[in-house]
Symmetry: C2
Subunit: 245 residues, 2 copies
DNA sequence: CGAGCGATTGATCGCCATCAAAGTGGGTGG
DNA sequence: CCACCCACTTTGATGGCGATCAATCGCTCG
């Protein structure tokens, strides 16, 4: 438990973030080595290929990691939520761009200082590996979705994945997770699932017609029949849950 | 440089493997904590869901990591080559199956002993993170291939990726890497690229007709026009090279 | 109230899957 | 050493899913 008045005391992402392995004084020192920054929706944190001089921990909001092909086709490699970490790479530059889907709040650290700090805090390094392993499992799940699943299966799988993530980030309100919030546009969902927006729209409408979901608004989807939705995913949505120790 | 007669002295994978960060005595101790095993082509090292009690370093041959959907659709998440490491997970069980594509030779360690060893050899942990980060980048590359590329683009990209890997594993002979060896069947390639074998076959024939490649045999493909092949990939084949320090 | 952007719905097209059949090559047994 | 067999690959014909093109809806903001 953090002492009263700790600068990280009110961080919503603290339980999931990389810094969850640090306590009071360590954490204060760590925080002082970095800075907090904000981005408006649509702004870019860094571009693919940019030299990787900083690492980041997302405190609030949603980010998307994107890769572009020269002709403009775009693939979203991942969406990041509070507590997620990004930016550490062994290559010269970043291998994707990072953009704000919603307004975001980010803790930023210089790579050099972060690495130095990690070197003397082995629990940070272990945590780092844990996060990387977790992301790797998620990326492979995504490979399965894109390689072998139909449009309906991808979308059902996506909805349930988001429902699961909302749950383990201990999101604000209802823990029954029947309601999924989609912070991103249909275009973003399409670029994540390898589908066109029209297909996303059509499939969601079809699911609505079958009373699997209810479209409370464009961004809020209520899951009406969890079981049948799970059947549609064709299994394997088990992106393992929270990495919280 | 290892002393003469060292048990790992003749390991072809040594430069790339996890153990590359260990020297003489450390390496001897490490090796003694494990065992060497062999599998014939087609045999399974472990199944998805099996409890993860061991970790492995591939010394010779090719492995495939697969995920199955209940109805039999299969996705190959990755092919592993000499020097690749696998098995370390934070979940209870493995998140994919591992099968031998060719006869393989594997160094096996109990997870518990490996972790204990890593805890007192920080350079192993860093190496581990490096490998995970590298695999993550590769997995995201695969996400791009599957999400946004046409059949021809996927195949061209796959061929060039293999050509690149052969090169940095310092493979036996010719370093100009104009010849790519495909240890896996067309079915495996299809299950990796999210395509059917007929499509693989047709596209390779088309590339042959355009004199981009020559099919020396089913398993050996000679690249005749590297430049045009790179154009076809629609960019972004740059899976960063060898992780050798 | 009107402008503009994102989402939805509709109609048609094209790529790759599917179904089907013929070709190829490696291994075994006679 | 050869003939056969079987599994894998290649090639051909057809069909379906999701992309593309197009029009309308609906919300937000000026």
């Amino acid at each position: 438990m953090l002492e009263a008045g700790h600068p990280c005391g009110d961080c919503a992402a603290r339980c999931r973030a990389i810094c969850s392995v640090l306590e009071n004084d360590e954490l204060k020192t760590f925080r002082k080595s970095g800075a907090t920054m904000r981005l408006a929706a649509g702004e870019t944190l860094f571009y693919e290929g940019d030299p990787a001089r900083s690492v980041y921990s997302l405190a609030r909001g949603t980010l998307r990691l994107t890769k572009m092909l020269p002709d403009g086709r775009r693939q979203i490699a991942d969406f990041l939520f509070p507590g997620d970490f990004l930016g550490l790479t062994l290559e010269e530059g970043h291998s994707f761009s990072a953009e704000a889907v919603t307004p975001v709040e980010i803790c930023r650290f210089s790579s050099a200082r972060f690495e130095a700090f990690a070197a003397i805090h082995p629990q940070l390094e272990r945590r780092l590996y844990a996060l990387a392993a977790h992301e790797l499992a998620a990326a492979r799940q995504q490979v399965l979705r894109l390689g072998r699943k139909s449009a309906a299966e991808r979308i059902a799988s996506f909805l349930l994945m988001l429902a699961g993530r909302e749950q383990d980030s201990g999101s604000t309100t209802k823990s029954n997770a029947r309601e999924v919030f989609l912070p991103m546009s249909r275009t973003d969902i399409g670029d994540y699932l390898g589908l066109r927006i029209e297909t996303i729209s059509r499939e969601l409408s079809a699911m609505k017609a079958q009373k699997l979901i209810r479209l409370a608004s464009t961004q809020r989807i209520e899951i009406l029949d969890l079981e049948r939705l799970e059947d549609i995913t064709a299994g394997e949505t088990n992106v393992p849950g929270c990495v919280c120790a």
